[in-house]
């Protein structure tokens, strides 16, 4: 099932990646990061979970630069880590 989803995503040229931010200090901060990430070029879909600090990003491989994700998070004052 998981594999099937991955294959499907590949065919529409989207990749997914995960990061983790362990120093969110309020739920709104998570929403702010979510919005900042969705403004990064090529990002299709973002979900930021305040409680676990998990950041899920779905992006277009041709357009988006994964390094920009970490930068966008740092710009908001939070420290991203590999999930």
């Amino acid at each position: 099932m998981y594999m099937a989803v991955r294959v499907l995503r590949r065919t529409v040229m989207n990749e997914t990646t995960q990061l983790r931010v362990i120093n969110f200090d309020c739920p709104t901060c998570a929403s702010t990061v979510e919005r900042a990430l969705s403004n990064v070029d090529g990002v299709q879909n973002v979900k930021v979970h305040y409680t676990t600090g998990r950041v899920e990003i779905e992006y277009d491989d041709d357009v988006a630069d994964p390094d920009a994700f970490a930068q966008a998070i740092e710009n908001q004052g939070y420290t991203p880590q590999p999930a």
Partner: protein, 639 residues
């Protein structure tokens, strides 16, 4: 030379450094003004404190505004700027410092709950020793292919999921099952990545590596569970959508009426629903994280909140209260050899998958061989070794669900089943046999009759040992004010004997599998919140019907995890009282946090409107309440 580490240190600890600097300046500025009267210098230092502490806050506030969200940072920034504008430098510095300190502490404490699961993942070793191309190679654990053989040294951690192909050892499976008593592993047994090989060397054929291991799957599920909103959380979220704008309207109207800018700024700051929004998720995340470390997978806040209301727990008897390894205790032939009774029954039951059938077939195979085996030894895959008897196939057979089987062999009709089946087929049970059966049943044994061509030729008494923990578990639930009920397909007398041994409040006997669901529905109709404990596969329908389905021994069986609201990774009944009391504690904890948040805001609101509470004091109490609900929620990590 040293610039690199210093920058790194700064980046890592920026929040702490900023907070500390702002705090020092704030203290210095305040003392200067208070003790010396250098007002201008004091004002300058206080403004500096506000700027240093407030820069990051204002930056985020800017993003909040450009993203059209309205968060506390926007409100704090507004309040600080407002305070500076009207000359209240001390208030401005205090608000900024207290907010920085509060959010620094919040971030730090939340980190603890966020990393609780990471510790589990770190259990998995990074590399694995694999047999490749005829020799041993050390490779990254996630690169091991399915089917490859991995070597695990004694004392080493197992890097992949797989089955043992060589060696014998005891494995501590605590990271997966929460159960630290070592489990014996030999040829063919499954082992999990992240568990610890304690004694002998093992060779393991890989079935999953990297992100495709049981531990990784469990952790993914746990995180999804933590992220799923509970009903309380969604309620609060919906409430917050209206609440924050309402606070702003209130602040503006307060200014319109009183012309007191500080008052309305204070309203803005204390009106933030901080503790209210943070409290319930922290409680639930902590509880789910704690459960995960004890080998209990909670499917999410919703399930947890429901489980917290449980007032009645139903147990499936077989395999739950009992060990599930039913064995034949006695075979009694009436005017016929015992051996013939068991072998006839075994033939009839051979194709059935019922656990009683397995016990009968095993018992027939294990009987000492009389003379020689027939040359027609069955060539079945289940390895009937030489000294075991062979059990011939029946010519045909039918399962009568919940009652027994009817089969034909060698021109005879053989019926093996309970009294209901015999009654159904109008087979007469002689008094002395009925008497014998009653005696066995009163000892808690399950008895089946063996009937050949319409007359009862013997009975087989079977016993399923009670789990040692069962009486204690039932007592612990009763102590927690929870009713306990046992559900079983066994007859009244056997059920009553077992129920007596366990000390359970109530039992329902002679239930067909689908009737267990009906019983649960009846209890629900009586207003009970019912939890059902079962094995996840046979009991899946009842688990789904119950308000809270608890599957036991779920590690490795994804179906059980799907159907259940809670899954016990280990086959350990003693986790049940823990899971139920943790749910109850969580429910209270959520209520406490909501109560605390509402109380704080109400008191602060009253305090501000009556001018008892200033901006800085309001901020202090607000931040303290947020920290308090986080700490309260985190108590559940140590339940």
């Amino acid at each position: 030379m040293n610039a690199q580490p210093i920058t790194q240190y700064y980046r890592k600890n920026r929040k702490a450094i900023v907070t500390a600097s702002s705090g020092l300046l704030y203290g210095g500025g305040w003392s200067l003004g208070h003790f010396t009267g250098f007002d201008t210098a004091s004002a300058g230092i206080l403004i500096l404190a506000a700027i240093i502490g407030g820069y990051d806050i204002a930056k985020t506030a800017y993003y909040e505004v450009t993203n059209r969200t309205l968060g506390i940072k926007t409100l704090v920034t507004l309040a600080a700027i407002g305070a500076i504008v009207i000359g209240e430098y001390w208030e401005a510095a205090a608000v900024v410092f207290l907010f920085s300190l509060g959010s620094y502490l919040e971030g730090r404490t939340m980190r603890k709950t966020r990393t609780a699961l990471q510790e589990l993942l770190e259990m998995t070793p990074d590399t694995a020793t694999v047999r490749r191309d005829g020799d041993l190679q050390e490779v990254p654990a996630r690169d091991v292919e399915e089917g490859e053989v991995v070597l695990v040294k004694p004392g080493g951690k197992i890097p992949v999921d797989g089955s043992v192909v060589d060696g014998e050892s005891a494995v501590n499976q605590a990271p997966v099952t929460g159960e630290s008593a070592p489990v014996h592993k030999a040829d063919g047994d499954e082992v999990y990545a992240g568990t610890v090989n304690q004694e002998g060397a093992l060779e393991v054929r890989t079935t999953g590596a990297g992100s495709d291991t049981t531990l990784e799957r469990i952790i993914r599920r746990v995180e999804e569970a933590q992220e799923a909103q509970s009903p309380t959380e969604s309620l609060i979220d919906r409430f917050a959508k209206y609440y924050t704008p309402a606070v702003i309207v209130l602040a503006i109207s307060a200014y319109a009426v009183t012309q007191n800018a500080i008052l309305s700024l204070t309203l803005l700051v204390i009106g933030c629903p901080g503790a209210l929004v943070i409290g319930p998720p922290v409680s639930i995340v902590s509880a789910i994280g704690n459960a995960a470390r004890s080998g209990v997978l909670m499917k999410g806040g919703e399930h947890l909140e429901r489980a917290g209301k449980t007032d009645l727990v139903t147990f499936d008897k077989t395999g739950t209260l009992t060990k599930g390894g039913t064995t034949v205790a006695d075979v009694e032939g009436f005017d016929i050899d015992d051996d013939e009774v068991i072998s006839l029954a075994a033939t009839a039951e051979k194709k059935s998958e019922h656990h009683l059938a397995d016990a009968i077939v095993d018992a027939a195979r294990d009987r000492p061989t009389a003379a020689t085996d027939g040359g027609t030894a069955v060539a079945h895959s289940d390895a009937t070794s030489a000294e075991h008897r062979s059990v011939p196939d029946p010519d045909d057979f039918d399962v009568v669900a919940g009652m027994g089987v009817v089969a034909h062999t060698d021109g005879h009709e053989v019926v093996v089943g309970n009294r209901a089946l015999l009654d159904d087929r109008s087979i007469d049970i002689p008094d002395h046999i009925a008497e014998y059966v009653r005696g066995r049943e009163e000892r808690g044994e399950t008895v089946v009759h063996v009937v050949r061509d319409g007359s009862v030729i013997g009975v087989i008494a079977m016993r399923d040992e009670l789990r040692e923990a069962a009486p204690g578990v039932v007592a612990a639930l009763q102590d927690a004010g929870i009713e306990t009920v046992m559900l079983t397909g066994d007859n009244e007398r056997t059920a009553s004997a077992v129920a007596g041994e366990v000390g359970i409040d109530e039992y329902r006997a002679e239930l067909l599998p689908e009737e267990k669901q009906t019983v649960i529905e009846e209890y629900q109709a009586d207003g009970h919140v019912v939890a059902m404990v079962g094995d996840g596969i046979n009991d899946a329908p009842s688990l789904a019907t119950a308000d809270v389905g608890i599957a036991m021994g779920a590690a490795g069986t994804d179906t059980a995890i799907e159907t259940a609201d809670m899954a016990l990774m280990a086959d350990d009944l003693e986790r049940i009282p823990y899971a139920v009391t943790l749910s109850k504690a969580t429910r209270w904890n959520v209520l406490e946090n909501v109560g605390l948040a509402v109380l704080t805001v109400t008191v602060l609101l009253a305090g501000v409107l009556t001018s008892y509470v200033t901006l800085a004091a309001g901020m202090l109490v607000h931040e303290a309440s947020v920290l308090l609900v986080i700490l309260n929620g985190m108590r559940l990590l140590r339940h």
